[in-house]
C-alpha cells in the first residue's frame, strides 16, 4: 500500500466523520422533537410520532437513501448533492431511533418529579425543560453515545445507492483496481474500529457509573 492509497483511505475516513457529525447534529434535533411528541398530551402528536417511527424502523436504510436521493428532484430541487441526500436519509433514519431511546429516558424520570414540579406552579413547558429533561439527560447519555456508533457504521450505507465517497466506498474503489481485499478492507475495518471503539467504551463506562449512582442513591 503506497502513500497515495493511505491518503485516499484517510480521505474516506474524513468523509465518514463529516457525515456522522452532521447526521448526529440534525438527528438529535429531530429526535428530540419526536421524543417530545411521543410523550405529549395531544393524541394527534403522539400518533404522528408513533407512525413516523414505525414507518422508518420498518424499512431498510438503503430504501430511505433511495427515496432521499431521487425524491428531492421530483419535488423540484434540481441539484441534489450526494452529501445532502446522505445526510437527509441518515438523519431521518437516526431520528426515529433516537426518538425512541429518548422517550424511554424521559419516561424513566420518576412520576413524582412531574407532580412536584406541578405543585411548584410550573407550566407544562417549564416542567419539561427545567425539571424533566435535565434529569433525563443524565440517563440518556450512555445509550446516546452508544447510538453514535450506530450512526458511524450506518454512514457506510451512503456508499451504495448514493455513491458518497466515504471510507467503505474508497476502500471498494482501491480493491477494484488492485484486488487485495484483505489489505484494503482490513485497513478500512481498523479505521472504523478506531472511530467506533472509543465511543462504545465511553458509553459502557458512563452506563456503569450511572448504575452505581442509582444503586447507591
Amino acid at each position: 500500500m503506497n502513500n497515495d492509497q493511505i491518503l485516499y483511505l484517510l480521505q474516506g475516513a474524513w468523509g465518514t466523520v463529516e457525515l456522522s457529525v452532521l447526521t448526529f447534529v440534525f438527528s438529535a434535533a429531530l429526535g428530540l422533537a419526536i421524543a417530545l411528541m411521543r410523550v405529549s398530551a395531544s393524541q394527534t402528536l403522539r400518533g404522528c410520532a408513533f407512525g413516523y417511527i414505525n414507518l422508518i424502523q420498518g424499512t431498510p436504510l438503503l430504501v430511505i437513501m433511495g427515496v432521499c436521493f431521487y425524491g428531492p428532484s421530483i419535488l423540484g430541487f434540481t441539484e441534489t448533492s450526494p452529501m445532502f441526500a446522505a445526510v437527509l436519509a441518515l438523519t431521518v433514519h437516526a431520528a426515529a431511533f433516537l426518538g425512541e431511546i429518548w422517550r424511554g429516558c424521559i419516561e424513566s424520570v420518576p412520576k413524582n418529579q412531574w407532580e412536584a414540579a406541578e405543585c411548584l406552579g410550573l407550566n407544562r413547558i417549564q416542567r419539561m425543560f427545567k425539571v424533566i429533561l435535565p434529569q433525563a439527560l443524565r440517563i440518556a447519555t450512555p445509550p446516546t453515545v452508544g447510538f453514535m456508533v450506530q450512526i458511524v457504521k450506518n454512514t457506510s450505507f451512503a456508499s451504495l445507492v448514493i455513491g458518497f465517497a466515504e471510507l467503505s466506498y474508497n476502500a471498494k474503489i482501491l480493491n477494484n483496481s488492485t484486488f487485495k481485499p484483505f489489505l484494503y478492507f482490513g485497513v478500512a475495518a481498523a479505521l472504523y474500529f478506531v472511530i467506533c471503539y472509543p465511543l462504545s467504551w465511553v458509553s459502557l463506562k458512563l452506563e456503569r457509573k450511572l448504575t452505581v449512582a442509582r444503586d447507591q442513591g
Partner: protein, 227 residues
C-alpha cells in the same frame, strides 16, 4: 410539480418482486436460526468459559460491533474469493450475516443470563437439580424469555439489513429491484414500492416471533405474563 408517477410500470414486474421478497425471507430465516444458535453458544462461553475463551469471544464481539456490516462482507466474500475459496453468493452472504448477527445475539443473551439473580441458581441447587438442569431450567430458559423482545427487534433489523448484501450481488428484494430500476427508469417509484413491501415483511417477521413466543414460553401461555 410536473412529475407523473407511474407505479404500473414497476408493478408489472410483481413476479420478480415476490421472488426477491422470498429470497430476502430465506436469507433472513437461515441467518436468524444459525445466528441465534451460535449467539447462545457464544453467550454461554462469554459468561462462564475460561478467561481465555471469554477474551476471545469478547474480542470477536467488539470487532464485529464496531465495524460496519458492509466492510465485514467485502472482507469475507471478496477476501475468500481472492485466496481461491469459491462459494455461491448466497452462501457467502448468509455466512457474513451469521458472523455479524451472532455477535449482537451474544451480547443480548449474555445480558439476559447475567440478569438471573444468584439466589435463583442456589435455589435450583437446593432442590437437587443437576448442574445441567439448573443451567437449562433456571438460567438459560428464563434468560431467553426475558430478552426475547430485544432479540425480536434485532432479528427484524437483520431482515432489513439483508438488503445491504445486494452490494455483493445477492438477488434479494433490494438487489432485484436494481434490475427493475434499470428496465423502467422509475427509480423513485421502485423505492416507494420497496418501502411498502419491507414494511409488510417487518410486520410479518414480528408476527412470526410473537407466535413463536406463544408456543415456546409455556409460562407466558398459561399465565399471560413474561417473567
Amino acid at each position: 410539480m410536473t412529475y407523473q408517477f407511474d407505479f404500473s410500470a414497476v408493478l408489472q414486474y410483481w413476479p420478480l418482486l415476490l421472488q426477491g421478497a422470498e429470497t430476502t425471507l430465506i436469507m433472513s430465516f437461515w441467518s436468524t436460526v444459525a445466528g441465534f444458535a451460535m449467539g447462545v453458544v457464544c453467550a454461554i462461553a462469554r459468561s462462564s468459559g475460561t478467561p481465555v475463551i471469554r477474551r476471545v469471544v469478547g474480542g470477536y464481539v467488539e470487532i464485529i460491533r464496531n465495524t460496519p456490516l458492509i466492510i465485514q462482507s467485502y472482507f469475507l466474500i471478496f477476501g475468500l474469493a481472492s485466496v481461491g475459496l469459491k462459494m455461491s453468493i448466497m452462501a457467502g452472504a448468509i455466512l457474513a450475516l451469521v458472523i455479524n448477527i451472532t455477535a449482537y445475539t451474544c451480547e443480548i443473551v449474555r445480558a439476559g443470563i447475567e440478569s438471573v439473580p444468584r439466589s435463583q441458581r442456589e435455589a435450583g441447587e437446593c432442590l437437587g437439580l443437576s448442574p445441567l438442569q439448573v443451567y437449562w431450567h433456571v438460567i438459560l430458559s428464563p434468560a431467553l424469555e426475558r430478552v426475547y423482545p430485544a432479540l425480536t427487534s434485532q432479528f427484524v433489523l437483520l431482515m432489513l439489513v439483508t438488503s445491504l448484501l445486494s452490494a455483493v450481488g445477492t438477488e434479494d428484494l433490494f438487489g432485484i429491484s436494481g434490475n427493475i430500476q434499470a428496465m423502467t427508469f422509475r427509480n423513485f417509484e421502485v423505492f416507494i414500492v420497496l418501502w411498502v413491501m419491507y414494511l409488510i415483511m417487518s410486520a410479518l417477521v414480528r408476527a412470526m416471533f410473537a407466535l413463536a413466543s406463544r408456543i415456546l414460553f409455556v409460562r407466558k401461555r398459561k399465565l399471560g405474563t413474561l417473567l
